[in-house]
Symmetry: none
Subunit: 236 residues, 4 copies
Amino acid sequence: MKAVRSSSHSGDRSGSRPAARRPKAPSASRRGKPENSSAAATSKSERSRDLILHSAAQLFRRQGFSATTLRQIAAKTKIKAGSIYYHFDSKEQILDEVLDRGLRHVFETVKNSVERAGKVSHRRKIGLAIEAHLVALLETSDFTSANIRIYGQLPEQLKKPHRPLRRAYAEYWDQLFIDARRAGEIRADMEVVPLRMFVIGALNWTIEWFRLENRDAVLELARRTETLIFEGVNKP
Amino acid sequence: MKAVRSSSHSGDRSGSRPAARRPKAPSASRRGKPENSSAAATSKSERSRDLILHSAAQLFRRQGFSATTLRQIAAKTKIKAGSIYYHFDSKEQILDEVLDRGLRHVFETVKNSVERAGKVSHRRKIGLAIEAHLVALLETSDFTSANIRIYGQLPEQLKKPHRPLRRAYAEYWDQLFIDARRAGEIRADMEVVPLRMFVIGALNWTIEWFRLENRDAVLELARRTETLIFEGVNKP
Amino acid sequence: MKAVRSSSHSGDRSGSRPAARRPKAPSASRRGKPENSSAAATSKSERSRDLILHSAAQLFRRQGFSATTLRQIAAKTKIKAGSIYYHFDSKEQILDEVLDRGLRHVFETVKNSVERAGKVSHRRKIGLAIEAHLVALLETSDFTSANIRIYGQLPEQLKKPHRPLRRAYAEYWDQLFIDARRAGEIRADMEVVPLRMFVIGALNWTIEWFRLENRDAVLELARRTETLIFEGVNKP
Amino acid sequence: MKAVRSSSHSGDRSGSRPAARRPKAPSASRRGKPENSSAAATSKSERSRDLILHSAAQLFRRQGFSATTLRQIAAKTKIKAGSIYYHFDSKEQILDEVLDRGLRHVFETVKNSVERAGKVSHRRKIGLAIEAHLVALLETSDFTSANIRIYGQLPEQLKKPHRPLRRAYAEYWDQLFIDARRAGEIRADMEVVPLRMFVIGALNWTIEWFRLENRDAVLELARRTETLIFEGVNKP
DNA sequence: CATGAATGAGTCTTCATTCAT
DNA sequence: CATGAATGAAGACTCATTCAT
């Protein structure tokens, strides 16, 4: 009940190329695994690939896609720029994989968190989703934060392959809200899509300002956010 | 009680340069004027400058700063890339001015809206601020939306000159919340900074998804957002 | 009765590109003019374009397409490599134009030479064609020699746009032979296609060894070749 | 009376290098053997070497030297690019050997064919030479066709080591013509060098268009060519 | 004011080559 | 013998910038 199906596009665009070398596609052993799995990346190649992706994610997150150069990625990975092409076909392919991992990571984190909770109130579920989303975004994954931060500014053609998964994630949240509303835990007159936008927006914007200081900071932020969303700022 | 002081930095960095032909600095007549003033842009030069800035703002907003080329800006302005240098010293200078105008625009819009209201409840004031912020962001100013969208990914050195004004704007909101809390319209245990982040985050994130369709769409969105913030999603 | 229709493809492949600048397409004033027209190339841009093409043709001819770098072309033209892109979209576009000019040049030279002769024997016509082809190839046009020399090694996709014109040229020769055979000046059992290949082959191969020394060398070579083709090496 | 002395240069340029593992020079057992001998290629190493050379020859022939990458050669040979360096010091060394084999192959083929004929007319000898040259070029050897096709575009320094053998081959043809002329089978006023160029040119150019379809096609072509050369196109 | 033409630094990418395993 | 992984030099191409006209 865990792995989010990869948007299965990743790397497809390179289909026409001669595809000389080997790696270039996410190794079977990694596909679908949680991105920050501490389970040792096996081959040397896989380790390098991973390091490159991590470097890229951090840089994309900070500077955006187009402001990030392959030389920067290489430098951070302590290899030379040309070497990147042993592992990837193009800068775009790196982007694709960063985006994909990032979204799959939040999605899985949120899903697992909610499902693990079992029978709890809808508010609790939404609270857990908020917390999981924030944890993924702010604590555990550069991929997720990179995705959230840069996606909006990418050219259409780069966004396209990631739409299905994005939509799926949005629908997952919508369902949480729909269920809660049906159960009467959310006002009946509340429309789901703007609500989801509002919530996700408030969560996502945290990348712009939140600086992780201690383990509990994110949890604290999550709690606060949940309260705000459910109760607003009004006097009770 | 209108004009927000420009962050006074704009163009300063070019101080050492030989000071080419003429303009290069916002013309006296424009300084401090509301950005969308339809009041006669006077000289031809000023009109071109303005058109360039508008083109730049739109492109920055859509693609980010580094993905936007001067030639794109020129093309959208229907001039040639070289001509931009009659009006600006560098791409950075354009950025500076776009950012500055953008922030001043929201700031003024919000301030004016609140002040014009006169004696009203704090909730009403905050509601007006929300509305004004959204209007500036989604309806009236490409500068504002450009600013909001790209600021976070800019290198330190480009952000720096804009910090004072950003801080001022943040403090303005903080004050709104502090006043409301003091007046008991907001729960006493609510900390102001995270609250502001939450609210501004929810508002700013709308650029990522909101598509302006009709005049009232933004107002409707603003109302909805105000309700959410004050009352939350709970059953009343 | 002169200009050979350009294969009209030239530059078409760049159709999808944003096409920012201007020149990039052969200027109207040059299209269809004989390549070595001494009629002054007018604008500065046109002159540069032309110089680049000439440099490219010479280098392509000597080293082949892929062994020739833009830097070499630039150096020979005494400009910087980046400047080439003011005039051309890509190395391929340069190639296209070199090939096109080259073939149009021989074609026109041959056609004009034959037509100008008026009512003469078929053998004379073929003799003139041989001479004209050799002159174009060895004396007047780097474009023609470049074309002949590199065409065969180009990847399919680069050859494609030039096929129609090549075919037309081949058919022109075929017609010369067909007419001569019908008139009884060529043995009736002689098949035209292999004959054309034989003749054109013998002519084209001269690039591999012939070094132009004096004005008459080519004419002398042409005469010799004509004799060989018509009479063979046999004792008369 | 068969083997054409290799131009003995092959690999010499690598003289200064540290002399890696082992082979790198054509194994003793192969030196001087006819290139397509099916007589057991012995060691595994030797077989690989050979496969690499064949792949290279085909690619050089089709695309030229500089457009052919080591990875393409490796792919065609079904090994990895790095492995090539066990057998060769550099791409240039491969080229050298391809060129050398190619020329030795035609040379031997022609020589053998002529010598085997014994006492025959000079025209017959030349006819056999034509046939043998075409067979080598179009049917039996990628090395020969690669040589003929790419030699002219190589940089001086790469051509140099192959000149002696080329000259020898040219002289062999010259001798055939001289003998024929002395015997009165060729017109006395016919100069030998341009004649050889004409003939070899017509033969060599066939690579540009001839597509081998059936066993006899080459022989048919050879016959036609011989007739043309001796009798020309005139009515008899 | 604006453009045409050019420049040079830097971008992504390719490729021959190396070398430890 | 062969490969996997990497390197560095170079290639095509882009782009902010300059400046004479």
